[in-house]
Structure formats: C-alpha cells, structure tokens
C-alpha cells in the first residue's frame, strides 16, 4: 500500500518544476507499476491508494511532460484489469474495473476516507490487518467474523464481551465463541473480556471483510472492565430489563449545546419518558414522577443537585463519564429509596499507561481534564474541572447593575485508582460543586455539593466478586436577601454517609446472583433563617436537625431458563428509622393536623418512627425471534427522603424532608411491558413500552402552603395517592450517514388528595401527554456531522385565574381555577449543531474539534409560566414568562493533548 517505502528510485525522474494543478511530468525506464505509482504519490500533490499484490509485475518505460495525471494512469493501467477513481481532487484509488461499476453508498466513500487514516501509520508488529481495500463491499462496511478461544485448551469461550472502543460497540460471543460485527473500515481497538481471563486488547486495522481469531489466557480480570463493560449490541432485545436506557457518551458532544456547554441532563431529555418542567429548572421528570423521585448516583454517591445556574447547565462534566444508564422501569434490587428512576453515572478511571489532557472551551464555561498513570499500569489519576467565567465577564461590562452582580459556578472531580495484587482495585474519588449568584445588592444564593467516596473491588474467584463502597456527601444551599428590614439568610442542607456492599456470584452463564446490603445515615437541616445585617428586624428561626437511617438488604437472580426466556427476580428489604433528639408536636387524636390542634410538644430521642418496605422486583424477557422480544416487569419502591417546594419545580435551594412519624414514606407499584425489536444487524433499535405506576402514598401542598423555616411543616402537607400511565415509542438508528433517535411518549399523571381540588383527581404538575423528540445526525464523513433536534411537548398543567372580584378599595383579586386545570402553551424547540470532529491522524500530539450550535433556532419564546397582573391603566393582563427569549448561537472548541 501507499507509503510503504520512501526509497528514491534514480530511474524515475519527476519534474516538480513543471508541475501544474492537474499535470505532472515524469519519466520511467523499465520500472514496475507500483514503483511508478509510489513515485507519483511521493513527488506530486496526488495521493494514490492501491494494493500492491493486485498489480502486474510488468515493467514499463515512458515519459510525460506536463501531462494530466489521467493520461499517465491510463497508460500505466492500460493492459491491466485495473482502473482508477478520483475519490476527490487529490486522492486517487486504484481498484479493479469490476468494482467501479457498482453503485456505491455514501458509507463506502466514508469508508474510503477511513482507509487514509488506517494507512497513515505503518502497522506495528502487534497490529492486526484484516481484508483488502479493493474487496470492500459497496455498503462501505466490513463484516468481521471473530472467534474467541481459550489459548490453552483451544475451547471456544461463550459469552465473552467483545468491545470496539472507538465505536463504543459491544457484542457477546455465542456458544461456539463466535461473533460477527459490521463496521466501517478503519483502525480500531478490540477489547475482549471474560471472567477469569486476562483482558485481551489489540489494534486492528480493517479494510474489508475478514476473520479475527482471538486467543485468551487464563488470568486475573479487572473488575472495572466487567462492571462498566459496554452493553451487548443487541441489549435492546436481549437484556432482561425493560425501561433501561443507556446514554451514549460519544453522542453528547455532537448534540446542540446551550451556550456551548455539553449537557448530560439535556441529552437525557431525548429519551422517551423523560421530561422537565422547562428551561432553567433543576432536574428531570421520569414517567410523570417528581424530580426528587429520581435516585442520581455518581458511582455510589447520591447526587442531590444536578444543576448549575438554576438548571441552565448540568453539574456533570461530560469528559469524565464512562457510562450513563437510566433505569426507569424495573429497577434492580441493589437500588432503592426513590419511586421513579435511577440514573447510574459511572465515572472514568484515569489512564494507566499515558498522560493526556483534554479541554472544552465555550462562551460561558470551560472544561479541563487531565489524566495519567501515577505508577504505570498500577495506579492512575484523573482530575476534571469546569468553571464559568461570567463573574469576570460581568465585571468587565460597563453596566452598573451588572458590575455589582456576580455569577459563578465550578465543579471539580479528582479520582485515584490503584490496582492491588492484580485482582483488586481501590478507588478514591472526590467531587465538589459550587454555584454562587448575586444580583446587585438585592439578593443572591449559593449552593454546593461536597462528596468523597472509597470503592474497593475484589475478585475472589472467576465466579465471585464484590464491590464495597463508602460515601460521605453534603449538599447545602443558602438564599440571601441583602436589603430592607427583612434582610435574611436562609440556609438548609442534606448530608449522608453511606456504606454498601454488592456481591456478585455467577456460577455459570445462566445464573447471576447479586446480593448485599446498604446503610445510609441522613442528616437534614430543614431550614435556618437568620436576620442579615444590623437593620434586619427578622426573628431568627432554626429548625431541629432531622436524622434518619435507611438500611437495606437485597438479593436478585438473573436466570436464563432457555435461549428465549430470561427472568430477573429480586427482593429488597428496606428499614428506615427516624432518629432523635427532636421536638415532636403532638396533635389531638382524630383531629386534622393543624397548628391549632397541637396539644403538646415532646422532646424525644432515640427512634422516633420506623418503617419497613418489602420491595419485590421481577422482570422477564422472552425472545420471539433472535431480533425481537417481549419484556415485562414489576417493582415496588419506597422513598424516605423528599424535597419540599411549593413552586412549579424544586429549585436548588429547596429544602429536604425525611420521613417522620407524621410524614410517612412514599410507596409505589411500577408495572411495565414492552415489545423490542432490532433490525439490520442491530443498527435499528426500536421499542414500544407501556407502563403504569400507582403511588399509594404521596403528599401535595395545601393552598398557600408556607414551606421555608416552618417548624410545623406537616400542617402544610396533604396526604393522597397518585398514578401515571403511558406508552413510550423509541426508534433509533445507531450508525450510518443518517442516524439518530426518535422518541414519543403519551402519558397521563394524576394525583388525588383529600382537601385539595375538592377531593377530585387532578393532573400533576409534570403531566405532559404528548412528548416528542427527534435527534437526527447527518455524518458527511467521519469528521463533519450536522445535528438537528426537534422537541415538542404538551404544555404542562397550571392553576390559572378564572375570574376575579373587586374590593371596596378597588383592588382586583383573582380567583384561580381548580388545581392544574389549565395548561400553558405547548413547548416547541429546534436546535442545530455542526461538529467538525478530530482529524484522522491519531498519532498527532494534540487533536482539536469544534462544535457550532444554535439552541432554540427559531427564537421561540416558550412559556415557562402564565400569570396575571393588574395596573390602574391596563386593567388585568395575562403575561407569559419565557426563560429563553431568543436563539442562542455558540461555539465550543475542544482540545486534546496526548
């Protein structure tokens, strides 16, 4: 192939001086065709791709002076079965005449581009080359048939995980140790793992169809690669769990950004069944659930707040993520404590072999990540940081009110991983995140998370391994009111200490047990209201700290009963205790829980209240065909920690509330069933899933509830029940020139609480019956991608004014409708992005890429809320408040140094 040799052949003289744009001058005397082609390649602006073995041994003599390249090639190839094809103005491919007549797909041309990358570097001794460029199928994809065997016994290895890192594509071997995958030509890293065997990792250059033999040695296995391994390529059909969504990390950097910041949470909103109240709000809603009904885990640490800048940006650094899985249906037994979903975010270990630095630079904030070995192959570190620079930008502006304001957020992740005795791994990780906001000298707020965790992974045998984790975490927030007689600071916090042991036992390929325990000690400061400054006349209020401990034992079994049928059954037994010391109000028996019905206040210590939860989890998958299956499941969930907010959605400064003797835990039953089908060799992934959730205990807020610093918070809540149901449709095309995802959800979410809405059912604030999103990528080649997002959602329910009355002193008082009786206008948004990806030369010391995006392309002013105001001149007028009022173009520059 090209550039195999740079030996100058004196018999060939290429006259550079006579070179024009298309023409060349060359003389050759009894030279072989490959030698002549190499000389042209070397001495002219043209790059010629050919397979030496296909060229005849013929020796040619000739001379051309300022001749078109086509003339030269025509003569060289005149007596062969070969022809040439201009891939573009400067790149020429020599290939059999039979191939050129075919109708090539766009993938083919992309594949040709990939061959340049593959050919750019001479293969190393450890590199495997598969196929020939002239054998590439017209589809532009190469079919690789692989075979994984035990090197010593020569026996095939069943269910080994084969993972192509660059494509984030995984597959498992069958009973014969075989696998098959279709990929575009290029250079790839194949990682193969199987419990009890040393990991296999090889560079493979693929030109066309071919075979790959992989021989694995018995040995230690890094648990991380087992646990954080990629999904099998047919996971949509094959996995036993319904309602499980994996977020592709690689796709994050191609989706349009808001002000240049890649955002995990905004990307998550494209998944079916996931929505949010609107821009500028914290968190997300899954299947109609509240924001605080999602358990968000960063490794094993519970993340209370996912947002920077009130929700305009997410708190996760995308450069540090290794895997993101959302469980919204049948939640595995190892997870609990929330009703709606679990977002399991796995963080990357640092590189054990080499150092590298990576950064993204946007108009509002920048990311930086550095990683590398501490002791090569033994231990590694990774440090990632993000920060906004709006604080300095505001100072630079010549606008007085902005000069006096400040806005800043940052987050830092530090992670150290040590391999111990080959089999075990110890990870120490720390995370801190801070937001600080001040508007002139009028008000401000800040909120921060500090978290540390220790994770110890141990492999006892090739069938049994464990993961022990210890986590300490604190989230705190403060609102500041700087002015007036009521100037104040209002602080609240929630912290937890967690220990969890997860034991995995896999005696054979058909059985996988998971068991363990977890214990979480929560400490919640519901509110501390204090006067600010000497002028404030506010009475200070400090509520008692609340404590609770949530213990859980869990066990689950995933069992393959037949090639078609797999079941996963689990049981989680949770026990929660509300702990003292604390002042507890005693309300008159059989009387409503109101302040006027308090009959005593007791100072109590020890266990104040305790609750148990028996939480079965069951799911099953039945394969109808190799590419289609039906899955269904049921789970019972309990929730002992909630967030209190009497607004449309929680804010980062909303306080937390543990279950108490008067505020009982939430409970839900979750059912789901769906049909899943993959097509075209798992490139098309489709599903339709029905769900139903019944919450047999929840609370909502009475009208005009007062939440902050309220020591009688139970008097503001009303207990009831709720339900949600819906159907989720997802169609995803994973690769190809056009790829992307279409999601549609139809759902209904209802609450029924005595004394609210006259006891009648009403929609929850997150009820959006129609939720449609389309994420479409057009890959012009491997570097250039255009992305289009379209989002449509039914407007969320609101309580709106119906009528009004006038007071004798002419105030006009609005009368509001029943709760959530009306809806704000529907939400629509279109975003676009154009990504210029990294260059093909992987051996460069640094790589750059750009993302240009426009968020809210049409500048649509989507309503966040509707409210009414009156004035003496205009009377009563309805207004809509839009968080975003225009289109937001941005540019992000990404840099990676190796």
């Amino acid at each position: 192939m090209k550039k195999l040799s740079y030996i100058l052949l004196p018999a060939i003289c290429l006259l550079f001086g006579h070179l024009t744009a298309q023409n060349i001058s060359i003389e050759f005397n009894k030279n072989e065709i490959p030698v002549i082609l190499k000389a042209i390649d070397r001495g002219s602006p043209y790059r010629i791709f050919f397979k030496e073995a296909t060229l005849p041994d013929k020796k040619l003599t000739g001379a051309f002076s300022d001749a078109p390249i086509a003339d030269v090639l025509n003569q060289l190839l005149s007596e062969t079965d070969l022809t040439y094809w201009f891939y573009d103005a400067k790149n020429i491919i020599i290939l059999p005449k039979t191939l050129i007549a075919k109708e090539f797909t766009a993938d083919y041309y992309t594949a040709i581009e990939k061959t340049k990358e593959a050919a750019a570097k001479p293969p190393s001794k450890r590199e495997i080359i598969i196929g020939q460029i002239d054998r590439l199928a017209a589809s532009g994809k190469a079919t690789i048939k692989g075979h994984v065997t035990n090197k010593k016994s020569k026996k095939p290895i069943d269910l080994a995980t084969v993972y192509i890192e660059e494509l984030e594509l995984g597959i498992t071997t069958d009973a014969n140790g075989a696998f098959e995958v279709k990929v575009p030509p290029g250079k790839y890293t194949f990682s193969v793992n199987y419990l009890g065997f040393s990991p296999y990792k090889k560079q493979v250059t693929i030109y066309s169809d071919g075979d790959l033999e992989i021989k694995m040695r018995k040995g230690a296995v890094e648990l991380t690669t087992v646990v954080v391994g990629a999904d099998a390529v047919d996971v949509n059909v094959g996995n036993a769990q319904a309602g499980r969504t994996r977020i592709e990390i690689a796709s994050l950097k191609k989706t349009p950004t808001f002000l240049g910041s890649y955002d995990l949470i905004k990307n998550l909103l494209f998944a079916p069944g996931v929505s949010s109240v609107g821009e500028g709000t914290t968190g997300f809603n899954v299947r109609g659930g509240e924001v605080d009904q999602n358990l968000i885990l960063q490794d094993e640490g519970i993340v209370f707040n996912t947002a920077h800048a009130l929700g305009l940006f997410s708190a996760f650094n995308p450069d540090l993520l290794s895997s993101v899985i959302l469980y919204k249906g049948n939640i595995p037994a190892q997870y609990g404590g929330r009703l709606s979903s679990v977002l399991d975010i796995g963080m990357k270990d640092g590189d054990f072999n080499s150092y590298n630095l990576k950064g993204s630079f946007g108009p509002v904030a920048s990311n930086l990540k550095v990683e590398g070995p501490v002791i090569k192959k033994k231990s590694s570190f990774i440090v990632g940081a993000r920060a906004s620079y709006t604080k300095w930008l505001l100072k630079a502006l010549k606008i007085p009110e902005l000069n006096e304001s400040s806005s800043l957020f940052y987050d830092v992740n530090v992670r150290f991983t040590q391999k111990l005795k080959k089999k075990n791994t110890l990870t120490l990780a720390a995370y801190t995140s801070t937001d600080n906001f001040k508007f002139q000298n009028q008000f401000g707020f800040d909120y921060s998370t500090t978290m540390g965790q220790v994770i110890y992974k141990n492999i006892f045998s090739n069938k049994l391994f464990s993961k022990l984790s210890l986590v300490a975490n604190q989230y705190s927030s403060t609102q500041y009111d700087y002015e007036g007689l009521d100037a104040s600071n209002f602080s609240n916090s929630a912290s937890n200490f967690k220990i969890k042991e997860l034991l995995t036992y896999q005696p054979d390929k058909n059985n996988k047990w998971e068991m363990g325990f977890s214990s979480i000690l929560y400490k919640v400061n519901p509110g501390d209201l204090s006067p600010r400054g000497s002028e404030s006349i506010l009475l200070p209020k400090m509520l008692d700290e609340e404590k609770g401990i949530e213990n859980a034992l869990f066990v689950s079994l995933e069992k393959t009963l037949s090639p078609a049928l797999t079941i996963s059954a689990g049981l989680r037994l949770s026990a929660y205790m509300n702990l003292g010391p604390k002042s507890v109000f005693q309300y008159a028996p059989d009387a409503p829980i109101r302040v006027e019905n308090i009959i005593d206040t007791l100072d109590k210590s020890g266990i104040l209240a305790s609750y148990f939860g028996l939480e079965p989890r069951l799911s099953a998958r039945y394969k109808l065909t190799p590419t289609s299956s039906i899955k269904g499941g049921y789970s019972r969930m309990s929730q002992y920690l909630n967030q209190l907010y009497n607004s449309d959605s929680p804010t980062p400064t909303s306080q937390y509330q543990l279950s108490t003797g008067l505020i009982k835990p939430f409970k839900s039953h979750n059912f789901s069933i769906g049909y899943f089908r993959n097509m075209e060799d798992n490139n098309w992934v489709t599903s339709v899933e029905f769900y139903y959730r019944f919450i047999d205990r929840l609370y909502d807020y009475k009208d005009f509830a007062i939440i902050p610093a309220n020591e009688h918070i139970e008097t503001e809540l009303r207990i009831g029940k709720g339900s949600s149901y819906g159907v989720e449709l997802s169609i995803q095309k994973k690769t190809g020139i056009w790829n992307g995802r279409l999601s549609y959800t139809y759902s209904k979410t209802r609450k029924q609480v005595p004394s609210i809405n006259f006891g009648q059912p009403y929609p929850s604030g997150f009820d959006r019956p129609h939720d449609f999103s389309l994420l479409l990528n057009r890959s012009f080649n491997n570097r250039h991608t255009f992305t289009l997002n379209i989002v449509y959602q039914t407007g969320r329910p609101v309580t709106a004014p119906l009528t009004n009355y006038r007071t004798p002193n002419h105030l006009v008082i609005p009368i509001y409708s029943r709760r959530n009786e009306f809806r704000i206008p529907d939400y629509q948004r279109i975003d676009i992005a154009y990504t210029i990806g990294q260059g093909y030369k992987k051996d460069r010391k640094f790589r750059t890429s750009w993302t240009f995006s426009i968020y809210n392309l049409l500048g649509r002013k989507n309503a966040y809320s509707i409210f009414f105001r009156q004035s003496p001149f205009t009377g009563t007028q309805a207004y809509k408040f839009s968080v975003l009022g225009s289109a937001f173009p941005s540019v992000t520059f990404n840099l990676e140094m190796l």
Binding site: L259, E279, G280, T281, V364, T390, E401, S405, S407, F437, F439, Q442, F443, F445, Q479, D481, L485, D486, S488, I537, L538, L539, S647, D648, Y701, F704, I706, P708, T799, P801, L802, T803, N804, Y805, R806, T807, P808, N809, L811, I813, I815, Y816, S817, R818, R819, K861, A863, Y864, I866, F867, Q870, S871, T876, A878, Y879, K880, F881, S882, G885, S886
Partner: protein, 374 residues
C-alpha cells in the same frame, strides 16, 4: 413585615433581571387568553366592622366578573345583612338599595351591640334568592396606637426605557408605631390603607371650551395609593416591639403635589385568620411567573352557604380597630413641581380633560375634605 414566603417572592421578580446574567434573554410577554365565563357570577361578600373615633360596619356584596369584562362587578342589591357577636346579640346593616354596599355608622361609645376587643363577631347575609350565608366568628384584635407618620424627600434610581439609570426625586411615607397594644401582650398583626387627596384647580388656557366653563373651580381628588398590593406587617414575626420610620411606600414627585396633597394612613389590627387571608391575597397579586413563585391557590374566604357547603363563596368579614393619621405635603416640600396643565395637545386631541374641568379626574369632588386646612 411580610412572611418569609413573600421575601422569596422577591427572588422571583428579580429573577427576570437576574437571568440576564447568564445571557438568557428571558422575557415577559403579554398574551391573550380566552376568558372563561364559567366562574363569573359567584357570590362575593366583603365586610368590615371598624372601631375608631367613629364606629361603622361596611359590607359590600357583589359577584365575580371576568377579566375582559369592562362593566366591572355586578352588585347584589336588597340583601339582608346582620352582624352578631358571640353572645348572640345582633344588629341589622341597612343598604343595598342602589348599589351593593350596606353600611351602618354608630357612636362607638353607644353601639347597638357591645364592641370590645377579644369578642368574636360574624356576619349573616340573606340574598334575595333566599340563600343564607354566614361567616366564621372573627375576634376583634386590639390596636397599637401609632406615634405618627412623616414624609421624606429622597433621590431614587429608576431604569429608563432605554435601560439607563436615572435619579429621580421621590417622597417616602413612613410610619412609627408600637407593635404591642398593651405592653407584654405580644406584637400585633397590622395592615394599612393609604389614600391621597390632592388639590387641582382648573387651567382653562388652551381649552377649546374655555368660553363655556362657567368659572374656575378647585377640585379635591382622592385615590387609593396601595392599589396593587396590601400593606401589612406581621409583628409576631419580628424581633422589634415598635416600628420606627417604617416605609409604607414611596412615590415619584409629580404634578399631584403642585397645589398640595394629603396622605391618609389607616392603621388596622387583624386577627391571625384575617391576616392570613390578606397574606394569601397579596401572594396572588404579586405573582411574577418565575420558578420561585409559590403555586397559586384557591382563595377561600370565611363565608359559607348554610344549606349548601359546596357553593364557592368569596370574600371575608373581619372586625378591626382603626387608627387614622394624616400628613400634608405642601408644594414647597415637593420642590414646586409643575402642574401638568395646560396640556399642549393638538386640537384634534384636545378633548375635555381634567385641566379644563377638574371634575373629569377620577375620584374628584368639589367638596373640600374636612381635614384640609390649606
């Protein structure tokens, strides 16, 4: 002082500006909503028993009306209104012949029924369609007697339409009052009503109808100042025992002060339930639509239909003690602002206006209020 719930609402209104710090260009827009007539015509009963230098009961009975209605509320006439105390004593409140107002004034020293702090009072209303409504018994709270009000002239920053900041003179109205009615009894919950009454003399120059005006008149124009919000203070949430120069509101200096103006402040005491009602009312009036806004609620008053508990009845009846204070703002205190008259308008637009005929101003009267000394 407002509850902390309201303090957080300040976050909401300012958040609109604050979001601009993230360059999000958030915005407010007027929108047209289809009026919903289904809830129009519901009964509203608003009543007050007031004890001060004079005593009176005022009840206003009307019906709800839609936002887009230009006719305003429909009054309920010919109802029977009775005030009772917790001992069962009653007095009828006459009125409702021409409008929805029912009034009875009395000498506080010789009231038809005993009016004393700590006693509970309630209102009974029988409408012409023979429906009976009754309010929950409400306790009359004692009132701290205020020490006085005063006016201070200050410069205040305002944002112009172009976004720049401009200093403009304002008058701040401040009150000083103890919060306890009786030392040791505890702080009270207070609410204030502020009205202004300013003088305006006809300026016929430039009026097309100059010849037809019989003579130059002087009018006294009264208007409610806190038209967009209730002014209240929860003394029970304060560490103070008295308020000193507590700012009730500030007002730009305009032509209103060119010939002199009186401010009248009526300080009232409220019991806890009534205070909560006004607090809730204020919450609805000051919504900003931001993510910090508390959810709106269904404002329930303290009336019910005695034979149909499910009927929605709005409004509130409360007893209160009142303390009235006045202050005069002379033209020189306001630095002699211009009168805004005559108006230099094109002929086509020079319709009769309040410069030509001061009686055209809303709230205008030729009767000089008894407290006017100037």
């Amino acid at each position: 002082m407002k509850s902390k719930q309201f303090i957080f609402k300040k976050f909401g209104s300012l958040l609109l500006m604050a979001l601009s710090l993230f360059a999000t260009n958030s915005c407010l827009q007027e929108i047209d909503l289809q009026p919903n007539d289904e809830a129009d015509g519901l009964l509203v009963i608003q009543g007050k028993l007031s004890i001060a230098d004079s005593g009176f009961v005022q009840v206003y009975i009307s019906r709800t009306f839609g936002f887009k209605k230009t006719t305003g509320p429909k009054d309920v006439l010919h109802a029977t209104v009775t005030l009772t105390d917790d001992a069962g004593n009653e007095m009828d409140i006459p009125g409702g012949m021409l409008d929805g107002y029912y009034r009875l004034g009395f000498d506080p020293d010789t009231p038809p029924i005993q009016i004393t702090p700590g006693t509970k009072y309630q209102l009974k209303v029988k409408t012409p369609d023979n429906k009976e409504y009754v309010s929950t018994p409400e306790e009359l709270a004692r009132l701290p007697i205020s020490q006085g009000i005063r006016i201070v002239r200050k410069e205040k920053e305002f944002e112009t339409t172009t976004g720049s900041i401009q200093q403009k003179p304002v008058l701040e109205l401040m009150i000083s009052t103890p919060l306890e009615a009786i030392p040791g009894e505890g702080n009270k919950k207070l609410i204030w009503e502020v009205t202004s009454n300013y003088k305006l003399t006809d300026t016929p120059n430039g009026c097309q109808w100059e010849d037809t005006i019989p003579h130059i008149k002087t009018c006294y124009i009264q208007s409610l100042e806190n038209i967009e919000e209730n002014l209240f203070f929860d003394g029970q949430q304060s560490s103070l025992t008295e308020l000193t120069d507590f700012i009730l509101f500030d007002q730009l200096i305009t032509y209103k002060f060119a010939e002199g103006c009186y401010f009248t402040v009526v300080q009232q005491s409220l019991n806890s339930d009534a205070f909560k009602y006004f607090q809730n009312t204020q919450e609805l009036l000051s919504r900003t639509g931001s993510m910090f806004d508390p959810l709106p609620g269904n404002l329930r008053g303290n009336f019910r239909n005695t034979s149909d508990e499910s009927e929605q009845v709005f409004g509130y009846f409360y007893p209160t003690m009142e303390d009235t204070l006045r202050i005069y703002v002379s033209p020189d205190m306001a630095d002699f602002p211009e009168t805004n008259c005559p108006r230099n308008l094109p002929d086509a637009l020079s319709a009769p206006n309040q410069c030509c005929d001061c009686l055209l101003a809303p709230g205008s009267s030729l009767t000089k209020p008894f407290y006017w000394e100037f």
